[in-house]
């Protein structure tokens, strides 16, 4: 097989733009980050192998999420404790929800950036502890000398506020 630079470049550019949404989908059904990263890697590999099947009139991101779904299913079948994972019909439904919005996710990405800047410092600190240091609410509570329940509530509020802001932001863009 002769390496074809144009094809490789096209794949990698498409992949660069789709990767964040594909990862969000994989993470949503495989919460362990290490598993999600493995699945993402397998998905990328499969995309390179099957790129000739990609219909260029369709959304690349939606196609990539579809491939990620198969990789998630494969991964799921290898898991011992299936009662702790979502079943295939649920994964299928989530996949549809993600694929349907494939071209909208980038706008959400831009909106969140704007909304986070407006979040109060205390909320931002909480989000950093949660998402950068990957601490569970109980561990955050220990650090802040607060209760686990109160941290959960405040985290939910911070996320609700962000969701609300994103919705307003998107409505404005569309208007």
């Amino acid at each position: 097989m002769t390496p074809d630079p144009d094809r490789t470049t096209e794949i990698t550019l498409n992949w660069t733009s789709a990767q964040s949404s594909v990862m969000a989908f994989i993470r949503s059904v495989t919460p362990q980050l290490a598993d999600a990263e493995d699945i993402l890697q397998e998905t990328a590999r499969q995309i390179v192998h099957r790129y000739d099947d990609f219909d260029r009139t369709r959304s690349f991101t939606a196609w990539a999420i579809g491939i990620a779904r198969y990789k998630v299913m494969e991964w799921r079948r290898r898991q011992a404790k299936q009662e702790l994972s979502l079943d295939e019909d649920a994964i299928e439904a989530i996949h549809h929800a993600y694929a349907e919005k494939a071209e909208d996710w980038p706008q959400v990405g831009r909106a969140i950036d704007h909304c986070i800047k407006k979040a109060p410092p205390a909320a931002e600190k909480l989000l950093i502890l949660r998402y950068l240091e990957n601490l569970k609410p109980a561990e955050i509570a220990k650090r802040l000398g607060s209760s686990s329940n109160s941290v959960s509530v405040r985290l939910s509020r911070a996320r609700d506020a962000l969701r609300e802001c994103i919705r307003r932001q998107l409505a404005q863009t569309e208007a």
Binding site: S28, I94, W105, D113, K136
Partner: protein
């Protein structure tokens, strides 16, 4: 107000949802497309927050990768590539740069496409030293001299000759290294590529997966696989992976081992990492106790892969480097300890790990391999001038990392002797990799030494045992 479903979704994402509630969440998602859409929206936010948080990491270097991912300007980037330039989106300003030069010990990267630390598309030559590049998509590459390469984009690098190690995060999947005989496509990994003067190529995969394409064949390499392609041969040939040939990081990152050593409050801790000028022998956190590497041939690149990060490789011959610390930390408490990782090569020879003499011409301490017994031996001079010698009971294992502390091998005590307070003061330098009695260096070490720590007190057996057990 959060509903039950919201709570389940958050607990699910935290990996904390019980089997019973997982079943409920599962049923709820399937109940309607609206529910699945709500799940997608919530989990997507979670993923974006995760990406956003990475941009808040307090790191000494720029971290554009998550920015690049989460800010979503890839289409603009794609357009930029199509017209032959690559744009990196930095938080504040937009600098058209393909990669940043984040380390260049020896400062020797030559190119007309270089603008300070910003690297653009073009040809590069590295005649000596090392260079670490951070591409705008998060790919990190360490290049060892002598090397010639061309940056084509943040996804394609042509290696004409030299040795590189690449670390590719998910945002850089698809990163490709092109050699004279192969094309190496990455799927999110750590791997090394070496192009020899004869245009042969070797690919070593340390973690993950890469695809190697030659003119008529494509092979998949997984963790710990390696392959070689000779010039003119059409097919890759499987070889043993060499995890130690490639320097994979230039800065010494904090590891469990280094944190464990710092917790014991060392008087000086030489991490044996790669310094900016490749001459300074840095004492971590106590720069006043830094020394220098004595090199007889400035062209020689004395670094290698260490037990923890990089280390110094000693060749043991007349060209060998050694480290010298003229301003050594005071060891005045009467007791002291050292801890070190060594990787010895070659047949038995008197060889010094570390030594320091007193002004009376006696050893304050000497940690060395003794040719007669072929063991590691420690000699200490007590305050009254008498010398105490203790030796390991077993011959030194070569070609393998071993941890030594006074005098424990790999955390287990091997010898002890009663010893009074050690002699002090001394004004003579601390030497590592050689000893120097009267201005002439002798007993050169052959092999690698890493993470040399000196303590102004006797470590307890428990402290030594725990330290030696800390995995890098």
């Amino acid at each position: 107000m959060s509903t039950d479903e919201d709570k389940w979704m958050d607990a699910w994402l935290d990996g904390e949802l019980s089997a019973a509630d997982t079943a409920k969440l599962n049923a709820w998602i399937k109940a309607s497309p609206e529910n699945a859409a709500a799940f997608a929206e919530r989990t997507h936010l979670h993923s974006l927050l995760h990406d956003w948080a990475q941009t808040k990491a307090i790191e000494p270097r720029p971290k554009p990768l998550t920015r690049f991912r989460s800010i979503w300007l890839p289409l603009a980037a794609a357009a930029a590539v199509a017209i032959g330039t690559m744009i990196t989106f930095w938080p504040k300003s937009a600098t058209p740069t393909t990669a940043q030069l984040i380390h260049n010990p020896g400062a020797q990267l030559i190119s007309t496409s270089r603008d300070g630390d910003s690297l653009h598309i073009g040809d590069y030559t590295l005649p000596a030293g090392l260079a670490e590049l951070l591409f705008s998509n998060g790919v990190e590459v360490v290049i060892e001299a002598p090397a010639r390469f061309r940056i084509e984009s943040n996804l394609r690098l042509h290696l004409h000759d030299g040795r590189i190690a690449a670390s590719v995060p998910p945002s850089g999947i698809g990163f490709t290294v092109i050699t004279p005989t192969a094309e190496v496509i990455d799927f999110g990994t750590e791997f090394g590529v070496e192009v020899g003067a004869d245009e042969s190529s070797e690919v070593h995969v340390f973690k993950g997966e890469v695809e190697v394409k030659s003119s008529n064949e494509s092979v998949k390499l997984l963790t710990n696989d390696a392959t070689r392609l000779d010039r003119g041969s059409r097919s890759p040939r499987r070889i043993d992976v060499d995890g130690e040939r490639f320097i994979r990081r230039i800065d010494e990152v904090a590891t469990r081992y280094s944190r464990g050593v710092f917790a014991l409050k060392p008087a000086a801790y030489y991490r044996m990492g790669i310094s900016d000028d490749t001459v300074t022998f840095e004492a971590a956190k106590t720069p006043a106790y830094s020394g220098r590497l004595v090199k007889f041939n400035p062209e020689i690149q004395p670094y290698s892969t260490g037990k923890v990060g990089a280390c110094i490789a000693f060749t043991g011959d007349s060209q060998s480097v050694h480290a010298q610390v003229d301003h050594c930390p005071p060891l005045g408490s009467g007791g002291f300890s050292a801890a070190v990782w060594v990787h010895k090569k070659g047949p038995p020879k008197n060889a010094t790990i570390a030594a320091r003499w007193t002004t009376d011409g006696e050893k304050q301490f000497l940690l060395a391999r003794n040719v007669t017994t072929n063991t590691i031996e420690l000699q200490l001079c007590q305050a009254d001038g008498t010398l105490v010698t203790i030796a390991d009971t077993e011959a030194l294992t070569t070609d393998k990392w071993q941890h030594f502390a006074f005098l424990y091998r790999n955390g287990a005590e091997v010898a002890r002797a009663p010893c009074g307070p050690v002699a002090e003061p001394t004004t003579l330098p601390l030497m590592i990799g050689a000893s120097d009695r009267s201005g002439k260096r002798q007993h050169l070490w052959r092999g690698r030494i890493d993470e040399f720590a000196l303590f102004d007190r006797a470590l307890t057996p428990e402290e030594i045992r725990i330290t030696a057990s800390l995995q890098p």
